[in-house]
């Protein structure tokens, strides 16, 4: 493997530089205004708390690169968290199997999304919106309040530390590294942008378009499953509403990181930078005592700014 190949996931483009610059700026401002901001404790907290967003944003990136969009993520996170809660309460001794089953269930829902997109020929936005609505309904019929419980050791997934580094954060980094290499180095991963750029061209050049789509959506489901496990580990219970904000939140870091809605182009590293930018910014705004309400305004403005900057660049290119 040549050095150039290894560096490919890290390839630098203006978008990543801009996002990194913004991230640096937020950190400098934070360090200047609050002495507790630039501490190891705070850094690990930010990383730990961004894990759930990281998992779902990574899955969303893969789907978007493949030309789709997944609006079922939030509902899936809620549904799976409730599932873990109930299953964990009934069979605490089978917890490992339950966790594996959750990941499989997430992948299965993703595969169903892909199948509906392929077989019905319906726009992914509509399909995943439909799945989300159905999952929400089912989850809320099962329970309207947080319910169920899991054995205490599961908490380690959220609060545990390895050499002072949060477990959830490590797992998130691991997923990003794997996905980054897969997407840029391996034929099966490099099909994603090809299929997203032009399904027709991909089909004509003999790429397995359907299989690629199924894999992308299934991995998005896996991301949702990991986020669900993280939430259950953090709160110790299944919550039917926990995932709701995640659907739209998962899209923000993706577009901030320079992945283009519509498919064909995108970067896992960009998404990771996007996740960190949003997480540190929220952290900073919290330290500065800015209300949640105004944080929403900031988030909206970030989307607008980021997207219109990227688009301008794409047009020049």
């Amino acid at each position: 493997m040549s050095a150039e190949r290894i560096m490919r996931p890290l390839s630098v483009d203006p978008t990543k530089l801009v996002v990194s610059g913004l991230l640096l700026m937020v950190c400098v401002i934070g360090a200047a205004f609050n002495e507790r901001f630039a501490t190891w404790t705070n850094l690990t907290n930010v990383i730990e708390q961004s894990a759930a967003l990281g998992f779902v944003a990574l899955g969303q990136t893969l789907v978007v690169v493949a030309g789709g969009i997944d609006l079922s993520i939030g509902a899936l996170v809620s549904a799976l968290s409730v599932m873990i809660g109930f299953a964990g309460q009934a069979y605490p001794e089978w917890m490992v199997a339950i966790i594996l089953g959750t990941v499989a269930a997430g992948a299965a829902v993703g595969a169903v999304n892909a199948a509906a997109v392929i077989l019905l020929g319906v726009h992914p936005l509509i399909v995943t919106l439909g799945t989300a609505t159905i999952l929400n309904g089912l989850t809320l019929i099962v329970t309207r309040q947080p319910a169920g419980s899991v054995p205490e050791w599961v908490e380690g997934f959220a609060y545990g530390r390895v050499l002072g580094f949060p477990v959830a954060g490590l797992l998130m980094f691991g997923c990003f590294v794997l996905a980054g290499f897969w997407l840029t180095q391996y034929p099966s991963g490099r099909r994603l942008p090809a299929v997203g750029g032009s399904p027709e061209a991909a089909r004509l050049s003999g790429l397995p378009v359907r299989k690629t789509l199924v894999v992308a959506y299934a991995l998005s489901g896996v991301g949702a499953a990991l986020a669900a496990i993280y939430f259950v580990a953090r709160t110790g219970t299944g919550d039917p509403l926990v995932g709701e904000p995640l659907t739209l939140a998962s899209i923000t870091p993706v577009v901030v990181g320079g992945t283009i809605l519509g498919g064909g182009r995108g970067s896992v590293l960009g998404t990771l930078l996007g996740v960190f930018l949003l997480a540190t910014l929220n952290n900073l705004l919290n330290y500065l005592g800015v209300s949640t309400f105004l944080q929403w305004v900031v988030q909206g403005l970030i989307i607008i700014t980021a997207v219109s900057l990227h688009v301008e660049r794409r047009r020049d290119a």
Partner: protein, 326 residues
């Protein structure tokens, strides 16, 4: 390359338009079937008072869905409608007026505000090439944040009593908000199907490039669609407040999804250029009747979500079959 075409490869855009009158007739048949089912399940459903209640209840969604149809027609999507409805409602209470004479002023201010919001979304789409999904998503979040920051969580402020009359009152036996829906439907229907502007909307939705080549100023057409959608959301928000009787920060929550579902049931294609105002209107009615059937059956309200989910996917699938089979 156009930012609006995002999500939909040009090659997938339906080449031939579905036959509009047939489409509307099928929808009418479907609606009649649903009403029939409801009547069998509960004879009280067909009583004049219940039917009137359903129409009154459906009115705000009808207004928003017709506006949403315009944006979808030009290959867009308006996710900000629900947030805009609530923001307009909060804006209406900001006048803290008790005199009914203020109602026209409140309406004018709210609709002007809505128009500005639509213009902003539209400009992001046309001038900055932002995908409609993101532009209106960002707008939704910004409006939500601004609204909460202004109300500090719970709106105070009064509304004139006349609002309640607009939302629930009658004029010569017909509910006022139903009259508003009919007037709006006729106006928007004429605009879309019988005017030069409407033909431009259809052309731009079919192919931005083709529209540009025949000299249509496509950006203006797209802007107009977003402004129409926002105006209809503003109107829908004001009438919804009149119907519900209270303003809170979440008035209109879920309307973004419901209005899109209604438009899709009504045969408006996400790929642009295909759709009717009557379809969107009937789609909204279908949705509301389905919700009512769930209530009649005594099922948990969450069943509405499950049914809605299936209906949205299959309605889209059926319309795709119908348009591509020709």
């Amino acid at each position: 390359m156009s930012g609006n075409a995002i999500f939909v490869p040009a090659s997938k855009a339906p080449e031939i338009r579905a036959n509009r009158p047939t489409e509307v007739l099928i929808l009418l048949g479907f609606l009649a079937m649903l009403v029939g089912i409801a009547a069998v399940l509960s004879p009280a459903f067909l009583s004049a008072s219940n039917l009137r209640d359903i129409l009154v209840q459906a009115a705000p969604l009808c207004l928003v869905a017709m506006g949403q149809a315009f944006v979808i027609m030009v290959r867009g999507l308006d996710l900000s409608v629900g947030s805009l409805m609530a923001t307009v409602a909060v804006l209406a209470t900001a006048f803290d007026a008790s005199s009914n004479l203020m109602i026209p002023v409140i309406f004018a201010a709210c609709l002007a505000f809505a128009a500005v919001v639509g213009l902003a979304s539209g400009l992001l789409v046309t001038e900055r090439n932002v995908s409609p999904f993101l532009a209106t998503l960002a707008m939704m979040i910004v409006l939500q944040g601004t609204r909460f920051a202004y109300t500090q969580g719970s709106p105070s402020g009064r509304l004139p009593d006349g609002f309640r009359v607009l939302g629930t009152g009658q004029f010569i036996g017909i509910p006022i908000n139903v009259i508003v829906v009919v007037v709006a439907a006729v106006f928007l229907g004429l605009l879309l199907h019988r005017s030069a502007v409407g033909r431009r909307i259809v052309t731009v939705g079919g192919s931005v490039r083709a529209a540009r080549l025949v000299g249509i100023r496509h950006k203006r057409v797209i802007l107009l669609a977003y402004v129409i959608s926002s105006l209809m959301s503003g109107l829908g928000g004001l009438f919804l407040v009149g119907y519900v009787g209270v303003v809170d920060n979440w008035v209109g929550r879920g309307f973004e999804l419901d209005s899109i579902v209604a438009a899709i049931i009504g045969g408006v294609a996400l790929s642009g250029g295909v759709g009717t105002v009557a379809g969107a209107l009937l789609g909204a009615l279908v949705l509301v009747v389905i919700f009512n059937i769930v209530v009649i059956l005594g099922l948990p309200v969450e069943f509405q979500l499950i049914i809605k989910g299936f209906v949205i996917v299959f309605a889209a699938a059926i319309h795709i079959r119908r348009t591509s089979a020709r």
